[in-house]
């Protein structure tokens, strides 16, 4: 057994809620070291995900994530759109058309998502990007997966992502728009890492 499509839909719904709730906060983070649009982009993108979910309800977790990938790719724009799009697409591919997702599959999906972001964006850990949330999350998920508890995997991932996002504060950005700021980017949280943590927390919330 494991998590089913209901979980996946709840995850995406909670993610959409989180983006709407934290829209201004994410805009403010992006305002400091970017161009003030990340919250708006993510909110718009996840509203599109909700629309798609209502339009054609998916039958498997993999299908739900694929639909999400397509909606984000076509509605978010900016850097985050293709990055999240790729992440969800790779995760969906890993899950295939299985009806249930167990702990190892979850960990594998998160690792695939992280790898997708890195493949597309070419950022390394410490570059002050969303990778700094996804890499610790994927690692923590892999470690927790041994016990077989999906909720534990997702909680571990969420906590690691949140810590990873906080840890971007002192970093100097080397990728994305914040990199133009050089040293001045230090002292601010990366908006993409922050939104990543919110999305991974939603995944855990949906499984609780």
């Amino acid at each position: 057994m494991g998590l089913d499509v209901t979980w996946a839909v709840k995850w995406l719904t909670l993610s959409a809620q989180a983006m709407a709730e934290h829209r201004v906060e994410l805009i403010e983070l992006d305002r400091a070291i970017g161009d003030s649009d990340h919250g708006e982009n993510m909110d718009r993108g996840f509203q599109a995900v909700l629309d798609k979910l209502a339009e054609s309800p998916p039958e498997t977790p993999g299908a739900a994530l694929k639909l999400t990938a397509m909606a984000l790719m076509s509605k978010v724009g900016g850097a985050a759109g293709p990055l999240y799009g790729t992440a969800f697409l790779r995760a969906a591919t890993t899950l295939g058309d299985a009806a249930y997702v167990d702990a190892p599959a979850l960990a594998a999906a998160l690792a695939a998502a992280r790898d997708g972001i890195v493949a597309r964006g070419k950022a390394e850990s410490g570059d002050k990007t969303m990778v700094d949330a996804w890499t610790p999350a994927a690692d923590a998920a892999a470690a927790a997966a041994a016990d077989g508890d999906t909720l534990a995997v997702l909680i571990a991932a969420a906590e690691a992502a949140e810590a990873g996002a906080v840890a971007t504060d002192p970093l100097v950005a080397r990728k994305g728009r914040a990199s133009y700021l050089g040293e001045r980017s230090a002292g601010h949280r990366d908006p993409g890492a922050a939104s990543s943590a919110l999305i991974l927390r939603a995944a855990a919330g949906a499984a609780a």
């Binding site: 970017g34 161009d35 003030s36 649009d37 790719m73 724009g77 293709p82 133009y180």
Partner: protein, 333 residues
Amino acid sequence: MKKLINDPRAVVDESVEGFGLAHADLVTVSADPKYVTRKDAPVAGKVGLVSGGGSGHEPLHAGFVGRGMLDAAVPGAVFTSPTPDQIIPATLAVNSGAGVVHIVKNYTGDVLNFETAAEMAQAEGVEVRTVLVNDDVAVEDSLYTAGRRGVGGTVLVEKIAGAAAERGDDLDAVAAIGDRVNQNVRTMGVALSACTVPHAGSPSFDLEDNEIEIGIGIHGEPGRHKIAMENADGITNRLLEPILSDLGTASGEKVLLFVNGMGGTPLSELYIVYRRAAQILAERGIAVERSLVGNYITSLEMQGCSVSVLRLDDEMTALWDAPVHTPALRWGV
């Protein structure tokens, strides 16, 4: 925030709609997915030129759609690159079989979205080349950044590559001339005030009453550093120095001098900057063969300007002079 808008989220939709109404003789607007094409696209036998990016830089890019310049422009949300599901149909719509050149400003978002779109358009049988514009000398250390940004030089790439496509150059030739323009142009900008993104509602960065931001980007993203306000000549000196040293222009060379307004600065001030820039070039024995002064690649209502210097050769000059007929740039026709 006081703006002539209705719903902050409908700004791009309504603005592009108005643009389409005002220029119905030149362009066709697709509302969803959103893109603008030249009225007579696809032009038989001609390489198609597509550019795009976040909105808020008007007249770039839609204002440059028309004969002798772009075949299509793809506007994203304000300061947000467009998505593949807009870029792909725009690319298909202007492909006459001769292939399509994407002119992409070097920002992570633009690069990734255009990259995805190019792949998918190729999968549909359209040959695509990409010209990446990265003329902003404000970004110093490109090893540890996403590289130099595409700014003012974009307008010049679009005009000159557009003229090459119009005269019948093939796909590789159009891409090559676009690259050549990019390699020979450098730009540096300054902001006297920040702009406000409609959906954000507050200024994109903070500047004290007596501060300016040197090396500003066109998305209200901060620049090289803040300095205390200076006079126009002093600021122009600061903009020209890195441009000329990076471009390595030598006495006797010919250039195009482009002073661009960021949206909220009066034309009269742009001419004061132009005056000093022309003086500097004259002092160095560099001949200004062509000039462009005005608001062509803006950052909403930001106050400030950018200066671009393009090293010209005879072919580029001829292509610059070639007829162009777009809403924002027009001559010879």
